[in-house]
C-alpha cells in the first residue's frame, strides 16, 4: 500500500479488525470471527507464537512495521487495532 501523501489515515478500524479476526480464524482460534475489541489474548488463548504470526500478517497486509517493544503492551484485539491505526497515521505523516 502506497503511503498517503496527505498525511491522513489510510486504514479504518473496521478494516484492521476484520483482518485480525480473519487471521485468528486461520489460526483456528475459537470465537475468532466475533472477537470484540475488548477480547484479550489470554481470553482467546492466543500465545506468543500465535502473536508472531498475527503481527507478520498485519505487517504484510497493511505495510506497517511493528517493533517488538511496541508489541509488549498489546494485550487485546483493540490494542492491536489501535497500534496498527497509529502506525498507519505515522507512516502517512512521515
Amino acid at each position: 500500500m502506497a503511503p498517503d501523501q496527505t498525511g491522513t489515515a489510510t486504514l479504518t478500524e473496521d478494516q484492521v479488525l476484520a483482518r485480525i479476526r480473519a487471521t485468528l480464524a486461520e489460526q483456528k482460534v475459537p470465537g475468532a470471527e466475533s472477537a470484540s475489541l475488548d477480547a484479550t489474548w489470554s481470553e482467546l488463548d492466543v500465545d506468543s507464537l500465535d502473536l508472531v504470526e498475527l503481527v507478520k500478517t498485519l505487517e504484510d497486509e497493511f505495510g506497517v512495521t511493528i517493533h517488538d517493544e511496541e508489541l509488549k503492551p498489546i494485550a487485546s484485539v483493540g490494542d492491536a487495532v489501535t497500534l496498527v491505526l497509529r502506525l498507519d497515521v505515522e507512516r502517512a505523516s512521515a
Binding site: Q27, K28, P30, E53
Partner: protein, 392 residues
C-alpha cells in the same frame, strides 16, 4: 530386575485400525492396511484428540503419538491419583516432524526467511510429542524422546521400563510414532533401494523386494507392579525383559551374521530370567527387505538353536511404521499374549531357502498358554532392541 514392570494401558493408531482391540482384531482377521503402496492411517481424525487450533500447530507424527498415548492413558486411568513428579513420558520418532520441515523448506525457498512459520521448530522437533503428552497428563517426571530409527519404539519402552525398575518414576507413558509419508521421505527411501518396487509387504517370502512405508503410533503405560496393585489398575501384560545392542557394522545394512540381533534377543530373554525354550512367539522385525528377513532368520536360529517358536511379521499387514513400529508391534505382541492367538504373516507364499522358520502364514493361529513372547526391532544405524513381554 529390581522392580517388576507391568503394562496398564495400551494405545495404537495404525493403518489397520485404532485402539488395541480393533487393531488386534484386524491383524487376526488378515486385513491389510496397505493401499497404493503405503500404509496410511486414513481414518485418523485429529480432532478426536485435540482442538483444531492444537492440530494446526502439531505435526502429524505428534498428533498420532498424542492419540496413542491418550488411548493408553484412558485405559490405565491416568492421570487421576498419580503423583505428577512420578509420572514420566518417553516417546520416540525416527524422522521427527518431516511434513512440517518439508512445507517450511518450500515456504523458505519461495518466500525467504519471512515466509517461515513461527510454529516450525515446535512442530518439527523430534521431542515435541513427549512434551505435548506430558502437558496433557500433567506429567512432571522424566520426559524425553529416543531416536534409533526403526527400533525407536522398542527402545523407548525398554528404557522407560528401566526407569521404573531403578525407581526414577512409578508410571511412564512410552512409545513411538511416525508420520513420514511425505514426498521427500518416500523419495529418499526409494533412492536407497529400501522400498518395495511392487508396493507389497511380504516378509520372509522369496519375492520380497523391500519394505512398504507406513505411518502410525503405539504407546503403553508402564507401571511399577506394586504401584499398579496399590491403585487397583488392571494389568494388561508385563515387560519381562529388554535387550539392546549395536551392530557397529554398517549405517544401514544389518550385520551379515545377525550377531547384533541375536545379542539383543538373548539379552531380553536373560533379562526376563527365562530360557529360549520358554519363548512361545516372536513378533519379528520382518521388514520384507531381502537383507533383514534373511539375517533376522539366522539370528533367530542362533538364539533358539534349532527349536525356534513361531515367528510372524505384522508389518505384512500395515507396512513399516519406522519409529512407531516397535511400539505398535509391542501392542500386537500384547494382543497375542492376551488372546492366545498369533497374528499371521500375510502375503507369504513362496518360501526362501534362507528363510526357513515357521512364519505363521496360515494364521491367525491358536496359541493357548502363550506366556512369553519377543518383539524385535532393528534400526538403521545398527541399533537393535528386543522386548520380552509376558502375559498378565
Amino acid at each position: 530386575m529390581s522392580r517388576e514392570v507391568v503394562i496398564t494401558g495400551r494405545g495404537v493408531v495404525a493403518p489397520v485400525g485404532e485402539g488395541p482391540e480393533a487393531f488386534f482384531d484386524a491383524l487376526t482377521s488378515r486385513r491389510s492396511g496397505i493401499a497404493d503402496g503405503v500404509g496410511a492411517c486414513d481414518e485418523f481424525d485429529s480432532e478426536r484428540w485435540m482442538t483444531p487450533k492444537e492440530a494446526r500447530r502439531t505435526d502429524r507424527y505428534a498428533q498420532l503419538a498424542i492419540a496413542a498415548a491418550g488411548q493408553a492413558a484412558e485405559e490405565a486411568g491416568l492421570p487421576d491419583g498419580i503423583e505428577p513428579e512420578r509420572l514420566g513420558v518417553v516417546m520416540g520418532t525416527g524422522m521427527g516432524g518431516l511434513s512440517t520441515l518439508e512445507r517450511e523448506c518450500r515456504n523458505w525457498l519461495e518466500g525467504g526467511d519471512r515466509a517461515v512459520s513461527p510454529h516450525t521448530v515446535p512442530m518439527m522437533m523430534p521431542n515435541a510429542a513427549a512434551g505435548l503428552i506430558a502437558m496433557r497428563l500433567d506429567a512432571h517426571g522424566p520426559g524425553f524422546q529416543i531416536g534409533s530409527a526403526c527400533a525407536t519404539g522398542a527402545h523407548a519402552i525398554g528404557e522407560a521400563a528401566r526407569m521404573i525398575e531403578r525407581g526414577a518414576a512409578d508410571v511412564v507413558v512410552a512409545g513411538g510414532a511416525e508420520a513420514a509419508l511425505t514426498g521427500l521421505c518416500i523419495a529418499a527411501f526409494r533412492s536407497m533401494g529400501a522400498l518395495s518396487r511392487e508396493g507389497v509387504s511380504r516378509p520372509f517370502d522369496a519375492r520380497r523386494d523391500g519394505f512398504v512405508i507406513g505411518e502410525g503410533a503405539g504407546a503403553v503405560v508402564l507401571e511399577a507392579a506394586e504401584h499398579a496393585q496399590a491403585r487397583g489398575a488392571d494389568v494388561r501384560g508385563r515387560v519381562a525383559g529388554y535387550g539392546a545392542s549395536n551392530d557397529a557394522f554398517h549405517i544401514t545394512q544389518p550385520d551379515a551374521d545377525g550377531r547384533g540381533a541375536a545379542q539383543a534377543m538373548r539379552a531380553a530373554i536373560a533379562d526376563a530370567g527365562a530360557t529360549p525354550a520358554e519363548v512361545g512367539y516372536v513378533n519379528a522385525h520382518g521388514t520384507s527387505t531381502p537383507f533383514n528377513d534373511r539375517i533376522e532368520t539366522a539370528a533367530v536360529h542362533t538364539v533358539f538353536d534349532g527349536d525356534a517358536p513361531p515367528v510372524s511379521s505384522t508389518k505384512s499387514a500395515m507396512g513399516h511404521l519406522l519409529g512407531g513400529a516397535g511400539a505398535v508391534e509391542a501392542v500386537a505382541t500384547l494382543g497375542a499374549l492376551e488372546h492366545g492367538v498369533l497374528p499371521p504373516t500375510l502375503n507369504y507364499e513362496e518360501p526362501d531357502p534362507e528363510c526357513d522358520l515357521d512364519y505363521v502364514p496360515d494364521g491367525p493361529r491358536e496359541a493357548g498358554g502363550l506366556q512369553l513372547a519377543l518383539s524385535n526391532s532393528f534400526g538403521f544405524g545398527g541399533q537393535n532392541a528386543c522386548l520380552a513381554l509376558s502375559a498378565p
